[in-house]
Amino acid sequence: MAENQTYYVPEQSKWPIIATVGLGVTLYGVASIMVNGKQGEPTTGSWILFFIGALIMAYMLFGWFGSVIKESRSGLYSPQMDRSFRWGMSWFIFSEVMFFAAFFGALFYTRVFAVPWLGGEGDRASSNMLWEGFQATWPLINNPDPQAFPGPKEVIGPWGLPLINTILLVTSSFTVTVAHHALKEGHRQKIKIWLGATIALALLFVFVQGYEYAHAYADLDLTLRSGIYGSTFFMLTGFHGAHVILGTLMLSIMLIRIIKGHFTADQHFGFEAAAWYWHFVDVVWLCLFVFVYVI
């Protein structure tokens, strides 16, 4: 481990404390928007707080990543540092996997246990006594208490838009890999084309997903409020969508850096991290497609 000799320890940095203040203010703002909104109180102040926090966060992200990029480009990072980043990113993605695992767990639990029990099957079948006339089905169209939670008229089938989205994302995983190979071979023009294509596919996915949501809300009465089907559906696809947007941002920044001439054939961890993240987003979608739409 000869490279230990030059392990880089950064100077004091203002970014973490700015990030703390930014995150704290943003989330405090979000919380008070929700709490005041629910109690019917004015939320203007909360929104201002939220925007201030978001601005601080944006400033921090540019500044912090900017300084990391600068350090990296001035050759301060050793291969050992590179490994630290790799471990860091891998475990971060693992934590994201576990975050989704919680929601998938909720989906499996309600489908396999809770809904059948409420419908009078299985170990807690007598629960059905409390919900006269309720029948367990999936997708759950009629909720146990239809007054409190009016169910959706219909849910979204897998073989329309979701299939298109699956094709879009799988293709984008492919194009980002082609771009990666191009980077390793040093074909910069080729990178731009394939990375650009990846971003275009991602944006198209987000658009299609947005269209599907609008359709669900406007035509199908499938909303967050339409019982456990709507809850799990929007929670899983919604958080996935948020991650797609985040991944698209990452890829876009990589494209900008490529255009600015960053990265070399053998030093481009930033790009790889974004690509890893993109593959993760893709795999989550495949699970979603199978467990939310198809089965």
Binding site: M1, N4, Q5, T6, Y7, Y8, V9, E11, Q12, S13, W15, P16, I17, L23, G24, L27, Y28, V30, A31, M34, G37, K38, L76, Q80, R83, S84, W87, G88, W91, F94, S95, E96, M98, F99, A101, A102, G105, A106, Y109, T110, A114, V115, L118, G122, D123, R124, L130, N143, P144, D145, A148, F149, L224, R225, G227, I228, S231, T232, F234, M235
Partner: protein
């Protein structure tokens, strides 16, 4: 200086810390950050402890005397949250920050700026959490396990703030854990293979893995709560096809590994301290490592033993009972190893050793009651009584907290360069030991006699033991101020500490002077 590369612009410092408050605010140094974690944790320990004193004062006698039930519930909730997330976890992260680079021969943590962020998020999160006490409707009052729907439909408005505070704590823990893993996997001195790592490093590696695996699940469950409260979803509401018990499954999937997160680093520290003061190598190093690994893996498949009474189908009930009982095997191996390490050593009993030995004895008692709780039919009688309160306080107070005290006394000379006052430290130990047992041992009896937990008032047959317990708690609480005094004294001065103040201690951290240089190992040492 040679080994630590500098930014090109500012190569004039790096020899020592910056001056003033900015040293702490902007630092990227693992020791500064470790110190801040430890100070923060102790402050939270006192705050959470004060709440415990309120609880014990109300329970001193039957009847309502000091606080109303609403406020009592806020106290039990905040006491639990603050102790778990504010006192115990940050204390271990503080110890990790200080000791991991020293133990593996690294200059610092792998990701120093992120390290700073991980720390500063904590005061931010707790500021939000504690501020809920002053909000209209009061602070969270649904217990530290915040079961839905008491915490969703029936929760106070401040619940939303509580949820975001938990999110921030989660981000902090996950980043801290990523940092720990990257440091351990990537920054070890040449020659230090995995099976040569000190046990504290091993236990922290596994703890960090647990943290990354389960903190996101906690984030997931509070997010579902947030959606149920504010956006009309029905995850935990049967009228929309959800299930309140779903909350408990997801929560305890986080919660059980969390329990080990709070104890594994203490296992590691005690595995250094007992050999040091027995002047004899640790017995069964390899089996210790495997045992910790086994405990961590098992911790993912036992969560429902917290929920034996919720109406789980019998197959599930049996599975979780067997899996839980199985944990006794690796835990037993660890205890046997510690005892075998002491056996035929040359023992001396300085404060770290006193705390470590008390740790082994009292944690084992907590383990015994854990084994009893694992027997599902018997759990129907123990569940949610003071027997459970006794059990988890026995694993957390003489487990986690005594582990932290033992570590603190063990490494204080290294950190400060001064020896602490041994007489005061021993006083601290004995008063804590007596106070703690007086406070928590009677709770076993109360639980077996049928006293439910989380009640502000109780039937008359529970009066005597509650009074004893309160007296013990006050004693234990007051004693902790002594610890503050000892540490302040030690930081300010005292007998100079040698590089290796304990003759039996082993490890790279003792090869550096006390206190160690600002950048720990500027040249990586060679490990044979």
């Amino acid at each position: 200086m040679s080994a630590v590369a500098d930014t090109h612009a500012q190569d004039h410092h790096h020899h020592g810390p910056a001056k003033g408050f900015s040293r702490w605010l902007l630092t990227t140094n693992h020791k500064d950050i470790g110190t801040m974690y430890l100070i923060f944790s102790f402050a939270m320990f006192l705050l959470g402890g004060t709440m415990a004193m309120v609880i014990r004062a109300e329970l001193f006698q039957p009847g309502l005397q000091i606080v109303e039930p609403e406020f009592f519930n806020q106290m039990t909730t905040m006491h639990g949250l603050i102790m778990v997330f504010g006192a115990v976890m940050p204390a271990f992260v503080g110890l990790a920050n200080w000791m991991l680079p020293l133990m593996i021969g690294a200059p610092d943590m792998a990701l120093p700026r992120m390290n700073n962020w991980s720390f500063w998020l904590l005061p931010c999160a707790f500021l939000i959490l504690v501020s809920t006490l002053f909000m209209s409707g009061g602070a969270p009052n649904f217990g530290w396990t915040f079961y839905a729907p008491l915490s969703t439909t029936y929760g106070p408005p401040s619940t939303t703030f509580f949820i975001f505070a938990v999110h921030i704590m989660g981000i902090s823990s996950i980043m801290g854990a990523i940092n720990v893993i990257a440091t351990i996997l990537n920054l070890r001195a040449p020659g230090m293979t995995l099976m040569k790592m000190p046990l504290f490093v091993w236990t922290w590696l596994i703890t960090a893995f647990l943290l990354i695996a389960v903190m996101p699940v906690l984030a997931g469950v509070v997010t579902m709560m947030l959606m149920d409260i504010n956006f009309g979803t029905s995850f935990f509401d049967a009228s929309g096809g959800g299930d309140p018990v779903l909350f408990q499954h997801v929560f305890w999937f986080f919660g059980h590994p969390e329990v080990y997160i709070m104890i594994l680093p203490a296992f590691g520290a005690v595995s250094h301290i007992i050999p040091a003061f027995s002047r004899k190598p640790l017995f069964g190093y390899a089996s210790m490592v495997y045992a910790v690994g086994a405990i961590a893996l098992l911790s993912f498949v036992v969560w429902a033993h917290h929920m034996f009474t919720v109406g789980i189908p019998i197959a599930g009930q049996l599975f979780f009972m067997y899996a839980t009982m199985l944990i006794a095997v690796p835990t037993g191996v660890k205890v046997f190893n510690w005892v075998a390490t002491m056996f035929r050593g040359a023992l001396s009993f300085e404060a770290p050793m006193l705390f470590a030995v008390a740790f082994v004895i009292l944690f084992t008692i907590g383990g015994f009651s854990g084994l009893m709780l694992a027997i599902a039919p018997a759990d129907f009688q123990y569940h949610d009584t003071y027997f459970v309160v006794a059990h988890f306080h026995y694993v957390l107070v003489p487990g986690a907290i005594f582990g932290i005290f033992a570590s603190a006394y063990f490494w204080l000379p290294k950190w400060t360069g001064h020896m602490y006052d041994e007489t005061l430290a021993k006083t601290h130990f004995w008063l804590s030991f007596i106070g703690m047992n007086l406070a928590f041992f009677p709770m076993h009896f109360l639980g077996l006699a049928g006293m439910p937990r989380r009640i502000p008032d109780y039937a008359l047959q529970f009066a005597d033991f509650n009074m004893v317990s309160s007296i013990g708690a006050f004693m234990f609480g007051a004693t902790q101020l002594l610890f503050l005094l000892i540490v302040v004294k030690c930081v300010k001065g005292g007998e100079k500490a040698a590089a290796k103040p304990w003759d039996g201690a082993e490890g790279l951290e003792w090869t550096l002077p006390s206190p160690p240089p600002y950048h720990s190992f500027t040249t990586p040492p060679e490990v044979k």
